[in-house]
Symmetry: C2
Subunit: 287 residues, 2 copies
């Protein structure tokens, strides 16, 4: 595996393989099975797998955890190697942002709901860094976990709006044995919080069951999920939302692909989770 | 020569030739020697030359001449063929903008001066359509005329900020026999205006001569150029500016590469012209 740290070298490297199928897994590192499942799938579907590790300052708000975001490069390099990554791109902040950006990108749809509401500017930072990474790597396919479903929806618009020659693929959220969604931020949880955090998944399951049972009214489902979450976690609920997907518009009746999504603030960790469901309540396994 | 009108087909076509050197000449059509000189140079320096014709509504203000902008596709196809263009991309507005753009791009530097001042949003439209075209065509080199020097400066930032794997090349303004800069908008000039319009070039020449003679004070040069323009054209002067280039910042002393630029409003045509000079007053012939 090659590890490349320079934007210029990375771009030059990718020019050599332009004719091939390149699967790209952009990450912020601190790899868990969620990341490696994306690498595995990319490996199956492409000639070359490229993974990037870059904790992107632009997508962190001033009071967020950019400095504290967990990092373990040595572990990540080992993991990437094990999962067949061909090229690992690990630029530093200065090489990605050598000067203040003069041309800014802003997403005006799919962002003023869910995580976008409590993280203003977050998705603008995401699309900015992804546009840069797409131009540097020039992948044919890019892989995201469905846990970051809103990110996936925003990237979907970015790629369509600007004609990136890239297929955007969403793969299922990978979970711990107790069903807590894998997240680099799970290390922030206290043991007691960790135990309660399983209720994000359980609450979503209860919501899903209502859809399966034929409940068409989103309000009923949202109320039920919120009640369960609140009683079982005792944590501050950031949101419980049911929207169509990927447009992320509120619906009055469940009759298309939807996302049921929750975000909960524990002491040091803000956790998110979601199910993407068809109108009958079946879990969608690839986007 | 292939003529392709669909974004999807164009992108598929370009995927086939990703390994080659692709020179791209983006235009709004109505070809004159300014355009064909770019095609000729692209032909010399690349395996494949792609030209696009797209009158981009996003870069026209509400009171500007989008509807009246001169078009002659038959003539353009003939010209492109004559000048060795391999692929001519002629999308319609609906295929370039199938839905309202959700992700918007804004340039925050190099735009609030020169033409940007009287054409708010113009350069945002330019970088938006160019980002789309770059992703569709995936060129290795892109060619612009120096007449649109501010556009060239803005594109230079766009490409650097977002790591497009593209070399941006600026080539000299092509002129009529009487030295009026070639422009599709010259057709709007009355015969009397056409005669006076030569004074854009003459005034720039006078400014250049001052630099050659050792004048270091931009104000002296600007005043002289403005006086000549005003007396000889009788038209409304939009601006006379002397800035460093490509940063487009005002300078207090001429000691680096500069642009001396003018814009004049005739009855139906707004004309622009400029010289890009080194600090000794020599004309720069390639950017």
């Amino acid at each position: 595996m090659k590890v490349i740290r320079s934007v210029e070298l990375m771009q030059a490297e990718m020019m050599k393989v332009r004719q091939k199928e390149v699967g790209f897994v952009p990450t912020m590192g601190f790899f868990h099975n969620g990341h490696t499942s994306l690498m595995d799938e990319a490996k199956k579907e492409n000639d070359i797998v490229v993974t990037s590790i870059f904790v992107n300052p632009l997508q962190f708000g001033p009071n967020e955890d950019f400095d504290e975001y967990p990092r373990d490069e040595e572990h990540d390099i080992k993991k990437a190697e094990e999962h067949g990554v061909d090229i690992l791109f690990v630029p530093d902040v200065k090489s990605m942002y050598p000067q203040k950006m003069s041309v800014i990108m802003k997403s005006e749809s799919r962002v003023n709901i869910l995580c976008g509401r409590s993280r203003p500017g977050h998705f603008d930072g995401v699309i900015t860094v992804l546009t840069k990474l797409f131009n540097i790597i020039q992948p044919t396919k890019v892989y995201f976990g469905m846990k970051d479903a809103q990110q996936l929806a925003v990237v979907d618009v970015l790629v369509k709006d600007y004609n990136f020659p890239i297929q955007v693929i969403g793969l299922p959220t990978v979970r711990e044995d107790d069903k807590l969604a894998k997240s680099s931020r799970n290390v922030y949880l206290s043991p007691a919080e960790k135990e309660k955090s399983v209720w994000l998944y359980n609450a979503l399951m209860i919501g899903q069951q209502l859809v399966v049972d034929g409940e068409k009214n989103p309000v009923t489902i949202i109320d039920e999920v919120r009640t369960v979450l609140s009683e079982k976690t005792g944590a501050m609920i950031d949101y419980v939302e049911l929207l169509n997907y990927p447009n992320l518009q509120p619906v009055t009746e469940i009759k298309e692909q939807i996302i049921l999504a929750v975000a909960v603030q524990f002491n040091q960790a803000r956790l998110i989770d979601n199910f993407i469901l068809d109108h009958e309540g079946n879990i969608v396994t690839r986007l």
